[in-house]
Amino acid sequence: MTPPDSIKIAVESLSAFYGPDPGLRNINLPIPARSILGIIGPSGSGKTTFLRTLNRLNDLKPESRIEGRVLLDGQDIYHPAFDVVSLRKRVGMVFALPMPLPMSIADNITYGPRLAGIRNRARLDALIETSLQSAFLWDEVKNRLSSSAMRLSGGQQQRLCLARTLAMQPEVILLDEPCSGLDPISTARIEEALTLLKSQYTVVLVTNNTKQAARVADRTAFFLMGELVEVDETRRIFTIPRDSRTGDYVTGRFG
């Protein structure tokens, strides 16, 4: 276990390219363990690109390329010897749109654990229950675990996606605007789940909703046009930011 207050992920001089244009320019950002880092910024500022460099999902696009280093517990995840599959088991992700796989609720949860080699029925059942409970979904679906995940509502689907990520028992959870398509009640449920989860996980939350960052994030980073403008304790970002552009953004003067 990483001790609290230590750095879980250290991003060092990271630049990411799609074709000739850098999508991210020289990002330096330490992410402390067992806390929530909020990432805010207008559309196209590189928030999602940044998030996807942390679990190497950008690798899937053939034209993408990165420079710099991303250290997970001190190890460079872009080192050729680093196993991408094991990385994604340690760094889970929840996508912007609720994206259950077209299978049953239970199978969605056990998809990752099964691939990781867990076959024991009792263990899988326990994982299903604990992860659904952590995502505040258990009571709503416990009687229909074998029905299709596609029949859940949008808010339920997104909590299922969170539960699915938790069932991997990752160390880091990346969330890419997880509440963008959800109503306020579903959003509140997810935020509640996140604040409870940070005692065990390192959470990186990209959000278009600055208020959401203010509500749940311990530290907040402001991205603008592929650059990290500043990162600080959330309280300071929203009250006494060092950069005037941050102030303008969080007070709604642009973005």
Binding site: N55, L57, L60, P62, V85, S86, R88, K89, G92, M93, F95, L97, M99, L101, P102, M103, S104, Y111, G112, L115, A116, S148, A149, M150, C161, R164, T165, M168
Partner: protein, 278 residues
């Protein structure tokens, strides 16, 4: 002079509706014509007995068996090859000159007349490889013939699987192969099934490619090295040689009903199978 939109609308509906109606009528006419001429010959004996006197009397049981064995063998050979090729082209390679050449090649293969496949099958499988006129030669030849269809429909079906499903799978620690196996192929299944159905339809009614490679023996096959006769070939020979028009139409009626039955069963299975999680 300009016709008022109200009338152009009516004319369009009448023309399009007429075209649809005409298509349906022609289809219906063919089916009814064959059934009307053929059904009187179709009795239980006709379905269950072996032919006698070159098919002049007796039934068509070994021919029915051959009609189903040959396409099944062809699909058993072509399906893994075709799906494998399609998965490789879509999931494992980038779009390059080479993949475009391969795709152009398969498209050309699809346009080759079946008698050319028959000729190739005869020279290569029957003569050079020495399989003789047999179930094996016929199955391999038909497999080559339906391979492009299976590759193309599978490719389209795989492309239609949303990329986000793949990303989700990867983000949960799956390898590419696990993603293909657990996410891509199950979701492409309806499209792949369409390809199988098209291929089955094409190979079940095929004569030219079959007669050169599987031969036309009327005996019941006991191994893949035995020659078989399919219903389409049987019909062709009975009618062409003037052996028995009644039995020829009887065979045609059974063939039409068999194709209809196969299609309905396949749709029923697909609906039960696919409807569950979508």
């Amino acid at each position: 002079m300009r016709i008022a939109p109200k009338y152009t609308q009516r004319i369009a509906i009448a023309l399009l509706g007429g075209a649809t109606l005409l298509t349906l009528l022609v289809l219906l006419f063919i089916i009814l014509f064959v059934l009307e001429k053929g059904l009187p010959a179709v009795t239980w004996q006709f379905l269950s007995q072996a032919p006698r006197d070159m098919g002049r009397s007796g039934g068509i049981f070994p021919v029915i068996v051959g009609t189903f064995l040959l396409p099944l063998l062809a699909i058993a050979i072509a399906l893994p090859l075709g799906v494998g090729t399609a998965v490789y082209l879509t999931e494992y390679t980038r779009e390059t000159r080479l993949t475009r050449v391969i795709r152009f090649g398969t498209d050309c293969l699809a346009g080759i007349p079946s008698i050319i496949f028959g000729l190739f099958g005869f020279i290569f499988f029957v003569v050079i490889l020495g399989f003789g006129w047999s179930l094996l030669s016929g199955g391999l030849t038909l497999a080559l013939m339906i391979l492009p269809t299976i590759i193309r429909t599978t490719e389209e079906a795989i492309r239609a699987v949303p990329n986000t499903f793949r990303e989700v799978s990867f983000s949960l620690g799956a390898t590419r192969w696990e993603t293909v196996l657990h996410v891509v192929l199950p979701n492409a299944l309806p499209g792949i099934a369409t390809g199988i159905m098209l291929s089955l339809g094409r190979s079940i009614g095929e004569t030219a490619a079959v007669i050169f490679t599987a031969g036309s023996a009327l005996r019941m096959p006991t191994s893949v090295y035995d020659s078989v006769r399919t219903m389409a070939v049987h019909f062709y020979l009975l009618a062409r040689e003037g052996i028995s028009n009644e039995n020829a139409y009887g065979t045609a009626a059974v063939l039409i009903l068999a194709v209809l039955g196969v299609n309905l069963t396949a749709y029923w299975i697909m609906n039960r199978f696919v409807g569950r999680h979508t």
